[in-house]
Symmetry: C2
């Protein structure tokens, strides 16, 4: 068994935390921003220092590759992203890039024999925080391999035209040109040149911590759907309109939300998660009864039959009376559960066992670039314990010891994959 370096991991965490440091423990590092470019240059400097060759594809995805013993063998790639959400933490995304770099560095330093070239990769714009949507560039690169129902939102031209949501002035395409990271399409991740795909990421949930396990052996990304649930009432004056005649869309929505919680909880699926995180209230004036209110409902579970049960509850909202308001349900989007490659999952599990690292099987509730890569290459993921399950916020934290264990698990799993052909 080979082990990665805790000292190097600590150094990388400290170094990358400077790029976009927001001054209170976290970072804001939008894709293609000056801060993200600092992170890319640091990655490039470190990878060139160990003799890796750098390629950049036409959407800015970066590939640092060290050769294997067989010049004709396909590459094994380890990928993640360096961009963050606004006021995010120092682990989401970047941990996967640091882990990939650490694997390559350990292989070079310890002269670990391997047949396949090994690649540490950066995906451009995973978060989509400045230029929506999330997982933009894995979506573009994997587009031709994706099933039809998730294809349309990832057309190349649409993505290039995606506007900076803060100013509306720059498009993603313009930012890419300006960044200097618009490379060649021929370097894109593809089954012709790559053998399989690994991604290490923080868990972003409390399950590993609650169970006292350092590492998660991820088996799938959960299936999900997002619906918009809208309520149509009548706006009237707060002071002049009797209560009995009102059609208050916010009150209607709050009744429906209680109903959803009650009915969905009755289904009794402990692993089911559902979230109503985004609302619109109109006209949103304290002296007016709202004539419109909507919220998004985000539902995730491995089993499509469970999602179907929840969907039936959601659909039933439309035929009920919510404080005199009409209810309409509109499909946002959905995805099926994406299962990781069974052989790669077993390599991760065996590596945990051989390294003596505490671990468990876990699903990924969050989306990752890996879920698109899975349609192109055999793919799997490794999770590292998150403190308090927090992510996408400044208190996001994973112990450097656990981060290093994650890299060591990935290293040994990669070496198992290296030998399986």
């Amino acid at each position: 068994m080979y082990k990665c370096s805790l000292e190097r991991m600590k150094d990388m965490i400290q170094t990358f935390s400077k790029y976009g440091d927001a001054g209170h423990g976290g970072i804001t590092r939008y894709s293609l921003s000056p801060e993200a470019i600092q992170a890319r240059k640091e990655y490039q400097r470190r990878m060139e220092a160990i003799g890796a060759e750098i390629e950049v594809d036409d959407v800015g995805n970066m590939y640092a590759t060290i050769p294997g013993s067989d010049p004709n063998a396909k590459r094994i790639v380890m990928a993640s992203h360096v961009d963050s959400v606004r006021n995010g933490g120092n682990y989401d995304g970047i941990l996967g890039v640091m882990s990939a770099m650490e694997v390559l560095t350990t292989v070079v330093e310890q002269k670990i024999p391997h047949k396949h070239p090994l690649t540490a990769m950066i995906w451009t714009n995973e978060e989509g925080s400045l230029y929506p949507p999330a997982m933009m560039c894995s979506g573009i690169v994997c587009y031709d391999y994706l099933p039809d129902h998730i294809k349309p939102s990832f057309r190349y031209e649409d993505m290039m035209a995606s506007k900076d949501i803060l100013t509306g002035k720059t498009t993603f395409g313009e930012a890419l040109e300006k960044s200097g990271y618009k490379g060649d399409k021929k370097y894109r991740l593809s089954p012709d040149r790559y053998k399989c795909y690994f991604e290490t990421h923080i868990e972003q949930g409390p399950i590993l911590e609650d169970n006292g396990n350092d590492i998660g052996v991820v088996d799938c990304v959960l299936g999900m759907f997002i619906d918009k649930i809208a309520f149509y009432g009548q706006t009237t004056h707060a002071g002049t309109f009797p209560m009995g005649k009102r059609r208050d869309a916010f009150y209607a929505a709050s009744q429906a939300l209680q109903y959803l919680h009650t009915e969905i909880d009755k289904l009794g699926h402990p692993e089911l998660v559902y979230t109503t995180g985004e609302v619109v209230c109109h006209p949103n004036v304290h002296t007016c009864v709202p004539d419109y209110f909507d919220f998004y409902l985000d539902v995730r579970h491995e089993d499509p039959k469970v999602l179907e049960q929840v969907l039936n509850i959601v659909k039933s909202l439309e035929s009920k009376n919510w404080a005199g308001c009409q209810c309409k349900v509109e499909r946002g989007w959905n995805r099926d559960t994406v299962y990781w490659d069974k052989k790669l999952v077993s390599y991760v599990k065996e590596s945990c066992e051989e390294l003596g690292v505490s671990h468990q099987y876990i699903h990924s509730g969050a989306g990752h670039d890996a879920q698109f890569a899975a349609y192109v290459l055999p793919t799997t993921m490794i999770f590292v314990q998150s403190k308090d399950g927090l992510s996408h916020c400044e208190p996001e934290y994973s112990k450097p010891e656990h981060c290093t264990e994650g890299a060591s698990v990935m290293l040994n799993a990669v070496l198992k994959a290296d030998k399986d052909d």
Copy 2:
């Protein structure tokens, strides 16, 4: 009994509806905007045509006055506003100005004898839609007469610095200078020069229509309070965080809203109105559990004891557990019920009876400039039936026949006041 002209009322409604016509039945006519200045010029033209003398005070309030038989008598003023909310209707505010103009025009045309000078007045910026707050200029003019607890928000300097909420670029003070309607402070409404105050307005509610009455004899503006009710939870990822550990601030707020409706309705006060029209959700992203949600609660009733009962329910929210979130209640503002002058109210009632106009006593649930004027002069209001109770929206409508009846009632009530000294 004297009667106003239906034809002139129809002509005025049509004419003023052009100033700020939004193209689909309503207007957007922010205070001091080019559209509002068109309306002011039309008022000035019509008032000068009947021989009225125009005065403008230092915050742009306009006073058109025709003389009475006693050169030393104080003026009787009829006032309202020409500005509207965004996409408002053709009656709110402007009906009171048209009614005042119609009273003066009828008095001149029919040579109706009267002792006191009569004034048709425009208040600047009643809505506060572009430069908050609402009732800004009545607040400034009446400032010295107001009880302490409603004074602080109407300091002259603060109002002049109030910024255009659409662009943030112009202040109310700058807009006033630029408009050409910054006149002389000596013309302000005051008890030295004015005897009493009338204001005609649309009801903005369905009570008159439901009861088959054309005119409302208003006896007071309802007491009210506005509180902000905030919920503090924890933001976590929609896909990775188990339901049982979540602290969802939107869900907490929706539970508390159900509780408020249940408990307040139990009090059994049919005239009580309460509204939750404005919300904030943070971070308001569909993949994040909200860590913060607030809504405003606006409560109105004539009896302070009833408001106290509601306040006790609101305060009780803080000590309860709302989906694991903390609740804090913050006082927005409040006002006591403002009663109109009993003698003036009786003049309005008698005028309705003498004219054979269907009418009833009614409270004003909405705020009006009259409520500040009431601290300066004996004051009352007249309501005109609103179709479907709608206001602050394009379908806002009152029949021209009812509008003319409202003006006739005001005319005869003014003539009663003219004779009572």
